[in-house]
Amino acid sequence: VCFVPGGLDCSISFVSHVLGKVCVHGRQKEILGVLVPRLTDLTKSDCIWQRICWRLVECVPDRWMEAVVLGFVQRAPGADVLSRLLGNLVVKNKKAQFVVTQKMLLLQYGHTTAVLQNLLGYLSLDSLRRTLLLRVLQELLETWSSSSALKHSPAEQQLYISKAILICLSHLKEPEIESCRQELLTSMMEGVKCHLDSSLPKLRHLGMVVAESISLKINTEGPVLKFEYEEDNETRELKSLLVQTPSFYFVPSLPDDDRSEKAGAALPLVPDGNEKSHTAAPVILDEESDAELDSDDDLIPYDMSQDKELKIKAPVYIRDCIEVLTGSRSEDLDKWEATVRALESLVRKNPAATREVSVELAKILLHLEEKTCIEGFVELRQRAQVAVLTTDPIPVAKYLTSQFYSLNYSLRQRMDILDVLVLAAQELSCPKFLGKTKHSGAQKPCIQLLPGSDSSKGWRKIVDERIKSKTRRFGVIQSHVELASHPNEFNSVAGYFFFPLIQHFDRPLTTFDLLGEDHLVLGKLVHTLAILMYLAVNTVAVTAMGKALLEFVWALRFHTDSYVRQGLLSCISSLLLSVPTEQILADMTEELLETQSWLGDVMEKDPDEDCRRLALQNLLLMENLKKKLEAVSS
C-alpha cells in the first residue's frame, strides 16, 4: 500500500471506507499488520503524514469505527505511536470515545496488559485527552469498589480492572491527584471493604494491592497503608505497573523494579571514620598465649560429668496432663510446653484412660490458648484434638458439634471444630496402616487455616481418582490381597458427625449467623459436609445423610458467595459417589432431576469458573449413573 504524497487537497475518505469495511469483516490482522508499521514509520517525524493518518481514521464511518479503533489499539507498538496515529480521535468522535473509554475497559476484559498500557498511555499523552483519563479512572474505581460487581463478575475481570486502575494511577500527575484525592480515598475505603469480605484469597489480594497503591499515591508523606500478604507473581506484576518507564520507544515491558516504591526504607548508614563494625570472626592469637599456660594448671577442675542438658519431663498420665493444662500456676510454663507436645502420643497410647476423661479433654483443648511461643502450636493442638476424637468418637463428637452452634465462640474456634471433625472422620474411615500416606493427599484441609479454593481442589483429585476407579471395576479381583480388611470405624459414628452439623444452620444466634455475615464459616461448613459425605461411603447411614444433604443444598443453592456455591457442588459430587446407585434411584429421583436442571443453569450462567467446572463434573457423574442404570436394567 503506497501513498503518493500528493497535493494539498487529497481526499482519503475512500481509503477510510476500505479500511473500515475490511476491519469490520474481521480482517484487521492482515490489513493493519501492514498498515500500522508503515504508518508508524511515516508519522515518526513527518507532520503531514500524521495529519493524513488522523484524517484517515476520522473518516471511517461510525458503524465500522469500533473495529478500526480496536485494531489500532491492539496493534500499536506503544502509547506514543498510538497517539501519533489516532491523534485526538477519542475527543472528536463519539463512537471512538465510547469504545476506548467504556467498552474496552469496562465491558471487555480479555485484552493483554500491553494493550491496556497502550490505551491508557494514549489517553494521558495529550491535555485534551487527560480529562478522559480522569473520567475513566473514576468509572473504574466505581466498578472496583462496588460489592455487587465483585460478587457477580469473574475473577479475571477483577484482575483486568485492577490492572487498569494501577496503570491510570501511574499516569496521574500531582495536581490531578490533588483534585480527586477525596474521591480516591472514598472509593479505596469502600473497595477495600468489599474485597476483604470475599472468601477467595485471590480477590482479597487484588483488593489489598490496589488499596496499597492508591494509598501510596494519595499519601506521599506520612504513613502509607500496608497489608500483609504473601507476594506472588501476580501481586508483583501488579505492583510493577505503578511505575512507568520513561522511554516510549518500545512496547513498555513491565519493569520489575519496585524499589522506588519503598519510600520509607532505612538506608544503610555510612559508617563513621572512627568506628568499625565487625561480625564475629574468631581471630586466633599467636603463640605468646601458650606461654601463660602454667598458671592455669594450678586450678584443678572438679568432676563435671553430671552437667547435662536440662530436660523437662512431660507427665505420663492423662489426668496429670489435664491438671497441668488447666493449672493456674503460671510459673510452670516449661511443664506446660512439654505437656502440649506429649499429649497426642499419650492419648493414643492410653485409649482406656482417655475415654474416661474424653469430653473434659476435648473441652480443655478447644479453649487452649498459646501461653508460650511453641513452634507449631496450632498443629499440636489440632492433632491432640483429633486423637481424642478418634479414641472416643461419640461423646466427643456430640460435644464438638453442639459447641459449633453455641454462643461466644470465635470464628476461628468454630472452623477448628470443623477441621478436627474432618480429620478424625478421615482417620476413622481409612484403614490404619494407610493412614499416613492417604492423609497427605487430603491433608490440606487441616493445615489451611483460611479456606482457599485449594482445599476443594486437594480432595477433588481423590474424588477424580475415585471416579476413575469406579469405572474400572471389572478386572480387579486380585489373587493376593495387599491390605487386610479392617472394620470401618466411621460406620457407627458417621451420623453423630454429620447430622448435628446440618441441623441448626438456619437458626441465627446473637454472635453467630451462618446465613448472614458469617458466610466464611458457612462455606467451610459446606465443604466439611461434602467431605463427611464422601467418607461415609459404605456406611449404613449414607442414604439418610444423602437425603438430608440434598435438602440442605437445595435450600442454599442461590447463595451469593462463590466459595459456598463451590462447596454445595462438592456436596453433590460426594453424594453421587457415596450413596449406592440403587438407593439414589429409589429414594431421590425427583430431587435429583431438579438438581440436574439447577446444575445445567449453574454451568451456563454462574460467574465463577470453578463453579461451572464442578457443575459440569456433576452432570457427567449423573450421566454415568444413568448409563449404569440402563446397563443394569437392560
Binding site: A266, L267, P268, L269, D272, N274, E275, K276, S277, H278, T279, A280, A281, P282, V283, L285, S289, E292, L293, S295, D296, D298, L299, I300, P301, Y302, D303, M304, Q306, D307, K308, E309, L310
Partner: protein, 328 residues
C-alpha cells in the same frame, strides 16, 4: 579422678523473694563485720551479716518493686540500689542509719544494671540506661550532673542497652564504657567525647551480661543462647572476637570475673553456676545447687585470699555462698 563438686559453704535463706543482685563488702579492717548486700524481687535490700549468717537490716526504698542492682560506693556505709520503680537510690548506712540520702529518677523501664566507676576521691561516674530506648546516660555522683548521653547513630538498631561496664585503664585516664545491646553487639564508647570507638557483633541474641579485665584488655559476654563470647581490645581500641565457648544449656544471667583475674563465674538459666579459668576459659566446675534460675553471681573482696567467697542468688529465693579455688 576429678573430685566431686563442692557443696556451698553456707546458704542464706530469708529473702522470701527471688534474689536478683548481690554485692559483697568485706574489705574493711578487723572489727568490721563482712557484709553481703542482696536485692530481691519484693523491693527489699537485705544486709546479711556473714558471721551470723542472718539479716542485719532490710532496706525498703523501692516501693515493693524489684531491686536489680546494688553497689557500694567506697565502703559499706554508702550504698546504691537500682529498682524497677525507675529510681536509683543512694543510702547512708553509717552508724546504723538506714536512710535514702538521694535518688535519681532514671525513667528506665528495662533491666539494665547501672555501672559505677570511681574517678576521684568522693566522685563517681555512673552509667545507666536512660528513658529513650537506645541511650545510655553518664551521670556524675554525688552531684547528679549529666556528663554526657551516649546515643547510637540513626538506624544502628542496637535495641535496648542490656548491660554496662564503665572502666578506665588507670586512674586519671579517659573513662570508657562497654555496653552490651539487645541485638547481640558489644559497643565500646568514649565517654568524654560521646562517640563509638568500636562495635562488635558477638551474639545472635541479646547480650545478657558482660565483664571486662582491663589489665589483659579481654572481656567476656553471655547471652540467652548457648554461646559465651570472649573478645579482646587491641591497641587501636578495636574489639575482636578471641574465642567462643559453647555451653550445655542456653541462657546466662550474669558473669563475673574474680578480682584476682584467675577465675570467672557464670550464673545460668539452667540453675547452675559454672566456674571457668580466665586465662583459657578452661571449665573448672559446675555448681548445681539451686532449683531455680540463677540470677546473679558475685565474688567477695576479702583482703585475705583464703577467705574469699563466691555468692549466687537465684529465683528459688536462696543465696548460696561457696568457697572455691580460694587457695590459689
Amino acid at each position: 579422678m576429678a573430685p566431686p563438686p563442692p557443696d556451698p559453704q553456707f546458704v542464706l535463706r530469708g529473702t522470701s523473694a527471688a534474689v536478683h543482685t548481690l554485692h559483697f563488702s568485706c574489705g574493711g579492717p578487723e572489727p568490721d563485720i563482712p557484709l553481703l548486700f542482696s536485692g530481691s524481687e519484693n523491693g527489699l535490700v537485705h544486709v546479711w551479716n556473714l558471721k551470723t549468717h542472718r539479716v542485719d537490716t532490710a532496706l525498703d526504698g523501692h516501693g515493693r518493686k524489684s531491686v536489680y542492682c546494688v553497689e557500694t560506693m567506697g565502703g559499706k556505709d554508702r550504698l546504691l540500689s537500682q529498682g524497677r520503680d525507675q529510681r536509683i537510690c543512694l543510702w547512708d548506712l553509717a552508724e546504723g542509719r538506714t536512710s535514702v540520702t538521694d535518688s535519681v529518677f532514671t525513667e528506665h523501664v528495662g533491666f539494665c544494671r547501672c555501672s559505677l566507676l570511681k574517678v576521684a576521691q568522693g566522685r563517681w561516674l555512673m552509667a545507666m540506661a536512660a528513658r529513650s530506648l537506645e541511650e545510655v546516660q553518664i551521670l556524675e555522683l554525688p552531684s547528679k550532673m549529666s556528663v554526657c548521653t551516649l546515643k547510637p547513630e540513626m538506624g544502628a538498631k542496637l535495641g535496648m542497652p542490656m548491660c554496662l561496664k564503665l572502666w578506665q585503664l588507670s586512674c586519671g585516664s579517659q573513662p570508657v564504657l562497654l555496653a552490651g545491646y539487645e541485638d547481640g553487639s558489644v559497643v565500646l564508647w568514649n565517654v568524654s567525647m560521646g562517640k563509638v570507638l568500636s562495635k562488635l557483633v558477638c551474639h545472635q541474641e541479646p547480650v545478657m551480661s558482660l565483664d571486662f579485665d582491663s589489665e589483659k584488655a579481654k572481656g567476656i559476654s553471655g547471652s540467652s543462647e548457648k554461646v559465651l563470647s570472649i573478645w579482646s581490645l587491641n591497641e587501636q581500641q578495636n574489639l575482636q572476637v578471641y574465642k567462643t565457648h559453647e555451653l550445655v544449656n542456653a541462657g546466662i544471667s550474669d558473669i563475673t570475673i574474680r578480682p584476682d583475674k584467675k577465675i570467672l563465674a557464670t550464673a545460668g538459666w539452667d540453675h547452675r553456676i559454672r566456674i571457668f579459668g580466665w586465662k583459657k576459659l578452661k571449665p573448672l566446675a559446675v555448681l548445681d545447687y539451686h532449683t531455680g534460675t540463677a540470677h546473679c553471681v558475685s565474688f567477695s573482696d576479702h583482703s585475705t585470699p583464703q577467705e574469699r567467697l563466691l555468692a549466687a542468688g537465684s529465683k528459688d529465693q536462696r543465696i548460696s555462698v561457696w568457697s572455691i579455688y580460694a587457695h590459689t
